[in-house]
């Protein structure tokens, strides 16, 4: 049977889909490697921007447009994944894009005249990573360079809706999501590769938007998570926002906020935050603008910075203690502590972790890259059949159902190893009742209203019988992704029930299908956007080279001796023409003008090159004599 199934030929990658930055990695000759761009940069900013003509810009280009077109650009969308409008109102304040949505439904993000759901925005980032990986494999000369499958990481404390939203984003990006794994566990895999020892490990992961703590036991190559805890709303973003608000208070300017200025302030405070990881004092510097006339400059010391962010960092301590308690451990039982996430570069964070666990934490692997490396290892385990390592993760939140009086009855407890199952038997309250409504929740609190609503569904097809006689067993299955599915059957008649699950904060399968169709329609535009960017980059480099040559000290001499009459004028007008069309969206036009400039400068380039070769040769001769 197995031999008859078609073999998948595409590549498999591991993806860290981060709040601030995203990365893609794969396993090459048994070792995980992060894929970088030409300049050696592994990070793709998780920023998506929509051009005037609807083209989509992602990553560095999207980040650049945060300043030039802030109202058309989206960042930190991970905070909105699997959430409702009531969860994110507090976040929406300082953001340049609009956030809306019906109560109890999926958040909608408005950019210009288009509306997106968070999974759609994330899918743009994933598509960029897919493209980056495919380019990498193509350049390596691989015949099958298409990337069609991925392991994607999520914060360990993500609930079912957030995980499902991430999986939907993968589907929308044209990826088969092999597995959703937790970021701290992925990091432990990357670390475990070198240290094949046993022990108890605490992984402290403070990223751009989320905080996780996971306690693992490592033995015989099995990475068993004992407990996990966290805060899906705590990270570097909160530090930035706190600093931005402080600066805004000090600039007692007009109250209406200008998105570009807020973005400029955000960049300035982020730079200062980074500086303070290395030096004891720095300056927050915002250039003068229409809104901040004189600009803004303020010195800040590391001590002041630490005092300011201390309450935020302290919020990570309670989850750490809870995770230890749930694992039945004391801080002294932890053999190793590992730091993950860009925000763990902050010295205060390192100090607190060291104090808490009584040992210096590990940070040998780049805290930005370690999660993607672990995801790549997990992807390789899934497709290659290698068995030396196994990840056993847990579900971060208890799963329950609503019972009488708005109370939650727990069915699967938090920190249960996944996959896990649980079941509950229901009966009917009135004679001949054929349906029962069931409300599934996730969380630790007693009352329904304090927990996360995951789904409501109606059990139908119960055979008519007197009240209380039917026995409907509902089986809950949390799979290895931490995602829930539900089945049910009536025990007396053994009839399988049909269950229609309506996710409270997720997309239905129909919606995902529709978005997939939409994305195919837009795929052409997105592809065109990429080609346009590449064409512009090419044009810019030709312009730069030409201007450099024209301004070089020896140019006047070359022009006089070697150039034909009118040649310099032809070059200068070709240059001016290319510069004039550079900002347009007409790729063919840019392409033609680039070619024209290339042709016009061909002779000049040869002459200049000969000159420099001669100069180099004569230089050496001088030295040799």
């Amino acid at each position: 049977m197995r031999g008859l199934e078609p073999e998948a030929v595409g590549k498999v990658v591991g993806i860290d889909l981060g709040t601030t930055n995203s990365l893609v990695a794969y396993v090459e000759n048994g070792r995980p490697v992060v894929i970088r761009d030409e300049s050696g940069d592994a990070l793709v900013p998780s920023v998506v921007s929509v051009g005037d003509d609807g083209t989509i810009f992602v990553g560095r280009e999207g980040q650049r447009r945060l300043l030039s077109a802030p109202s058309r650009s989206v960042y930190s969308v991970k905070r909105f994944m699997g959430r409702g409008i009531e969860d994110v109102r507090a976040d929406a304040g300082l953001l340049p894009f609009s956030v809306s949505g019906a109560p109890g439904g999926v958040v909608r993000i408005g950019v210009a005249d288009r509306e997106f759901t968070p999974p759609e925005i994330s899918a743009f980032v994933l598509r960029e990573l897919k493209h980056r990986a495919e380019e990498h494999f193509r350049k390596q000369g691989e015949f099958d360079f298409e990337v069609d499958r991925a392991v994607i990481t999520v914060p360990a404390y993500f609930n079912d809706a957030q995980r499902t939203a991430t999986r939907d984003a993968g589907r929308l990006a044209g990826l088969e999501v092999l597995r959703i794994i937790n970021e701290p566990t992925a990091a432990s895999l990357a670390y475990g590769l070198d240290k094949r020892n046993r022990g108890t490990v605490a992984v402290y992961d403070l990223g751009g938007g989320t905080f996780d703590i996971s306690i693992l036991k490592v033995e015989d190559g099995v990475f068993q998570v004992l407990s996990t805890n966290g805060d899906t709303h705590l990270g570097g973003d909160d530090i930035d926002r706190l600093m931005v608000e402080t600066v805004l208070e000090e600039i007692a300017g007009p109250k209406e906020q200008d998105a570009a200025t807020v973005e400029a302030i955000r960049r300035a405070v982020i730079q200062a935050k980074w500086d303070l990881s290395d030096v004891d004092e720095t300056e927050i510097r915002v250039e003068p603008s229409r809104w901040v006339h004189g600009g803004y400059r303020k010195r800040i010391t590391r001590a002041e910075f630490e005092h300011m962010i201390r309450p935020l960092v302290d919020r990570t301590l309670a989850p750490c203690r809870q995770a230890l308690a749930d694992a039945g451990l004391e801080p002294k039982d932890i053999d190793e502590a590992v730091l993950v996430g860009g925000s763990t570069r902050i010295p205060l964070v390192r100090r607190l972790v060291e104090e808490l666990f009584g040992r210096a934490p590990h940070s040998e692997l780049n805290p930005d890259e370690v999660v993607a490396l672990g995801a790549a290892i997990q992807a390789d385990i899934l497709v290659s059949g290698r068995r030396e390592m196994l990840l056993l993760d847990v579900t971060p939140l208890s799963l329950g159902i609503e019972t009488m009086g708005g109370v939650v009855s727990k069915i699967i407890m938090r920190n249960s190893t996944i996959p896990a199952t649980g079941s509950e038997t229901f009966t009917t309250g009135v004679d001949n009742q054929t349906a029962v409504d069931i409300h599934v929740l996730q969380g630790e609190r007693e009352l329904v209203v304090d927990n996360r609503s995951l789904a409501r569904f109606r059990l139908r097809g119960i055979p008519p019988m007197p009240a209380g006689l039917a026995r409907v067993q509902v089986q809950f299955q949390i799979d290895a992704n931490g995602i829930l599915s539900v089945t049910a059957h009536e025990l007396r008649t053994d009839i399988e029930q049909t269950i229609e699950v309506k996710p409270s904060y997720g997309l239905t399968d129909d919606e995902v299908e529709r978005m997939l169709l939409d994305s195919f329609e837009h795929a052409e535009a997105d592809f065109a956007a990429r080609l346009l960017i590449e064409e512009r980059n090419e044009a810019e480099s030709v312009i730069l080279a030409t201007e450099k040559t024209l301004r070089a000290p020896g140019f006047a001499e070359i022009a006089e001796r070697d150039l034909a009459p009118g040649e310099q004028q032809r070059i200068e007008s070709a240059l001016a023409e290319l510069k004039a069309v550079l900002g347009s969206d007409n790729r063919d036009l840019i392409h033609d003008k680039t070619h024209a400039l290339n042709d016009a400068t061909k002779h000049l380039a040869e002459v200049a090159m000969n000159r420099s070769v001669q100069a180099a040769l004569s230089g050496r001769n001088v030295n040799e004599m």
Partner: protein, 233 residues
């Protein structure tokens, strides 16, 4: 007997893989966590041995290793892994371990009587005294009495309950050891041990509820301590 859904051969119910084609078997209606983990039906379990078996079987069943397998095998891997995780969780904890033993030995679950208000006869005296004391403290708290003094009274009321709970833990341990040594004993003797275990579990649940009631009153006291202290100052 299980039927292998890959090759159709029959397999004993405690096997994980088909003896014929060596593919993973569907779970079927398994109910015995001890047998599933290859452990004797005993209540004193060596924790490191349990963990070793859990890891060993995880390596055999986990869905990670069945990614390229047929849908039938993938489903079997998911079922067996889930069941293994449930089994490990149940046997790791001494109380849930006893509950599982009672279930597979055919005794009604202690949980089924949890909701009934019946006080175990052996606890009648303590329950009566505690409830009276709790009522008294509640009344005094609501009429604004000194919170610190009430807290001391509540602590004192807790002591006999704590002592009963410790006594129960010891009794559960003794009974567990007795069960493990009764392999050659008569059915009636073994049944008597199981009945005693079940009695102790019922009492234990009741004691835990009493302690929870004391805890709730503690919380109420702490809550009324805040504004009370403020009004005096």
């Amino acid at each position: 007997m299980l039927e292998c859904r890959s090759c159709g051969a029959g397999a004993p119910v405690d096997e994980h893989f088909c003896p014929q084609c060596s593919r993973i078997l569907a779970l079927g209606r398994h109910g015995d966590y001890f047998a599933f983990l290859g452990l004797p039906r005993k209540l004193v379990v060596d924790a490191s041995e349990l963990e070793r078996r859990f890891r060993e079987l995880s390596r055999k069943f986990h869905p990670d290793y069945f990614y390229n397998a047929s849908p039938v095998e993938r489903l079997a891997s998911l079922e067996r892994s889930s069941y293994l995780n449930d089994a490990y969780r149940a046997l790791k904890n001494p109380v849930t371990r006893i509950e599982h033993l009672l279930a597979i030995e055919g005794l009604p679950s202690p949980k089924s009587e949890e909701g009934t208000a019946k006080v175990p006869p052996s606890l009648l005296e303590e329950v009566f005294a505690l409830n009276e004391e709790l009522d008294g403290i509640r009344e005094l708290r609501e009429s604004g009495a000194d919170v610190e003094a009430l807290r001391v009274r509540l602590e004192r009321a807790r002591h006999p309950i704590d002592a009963r709970r410790e006594q129960h833990e010891r009794q559960l341990e003794e009974l567990s050891a007795r069960w493990d040594n009764q392999e050659g004993a008569s059915v009636a003797e073994r049944r008597a041990t199981l009945d005693a275990l079940r009695e102790r579990l019922l009492e234990r649940n009741y004691i835990n509820n009493l302690l929870a009631g004391i805890e709730r009153e503690m919380t109420s006291l702490a809550a009324s301590a805040g504004p009370g202290a403020g009004s005096r100052g």
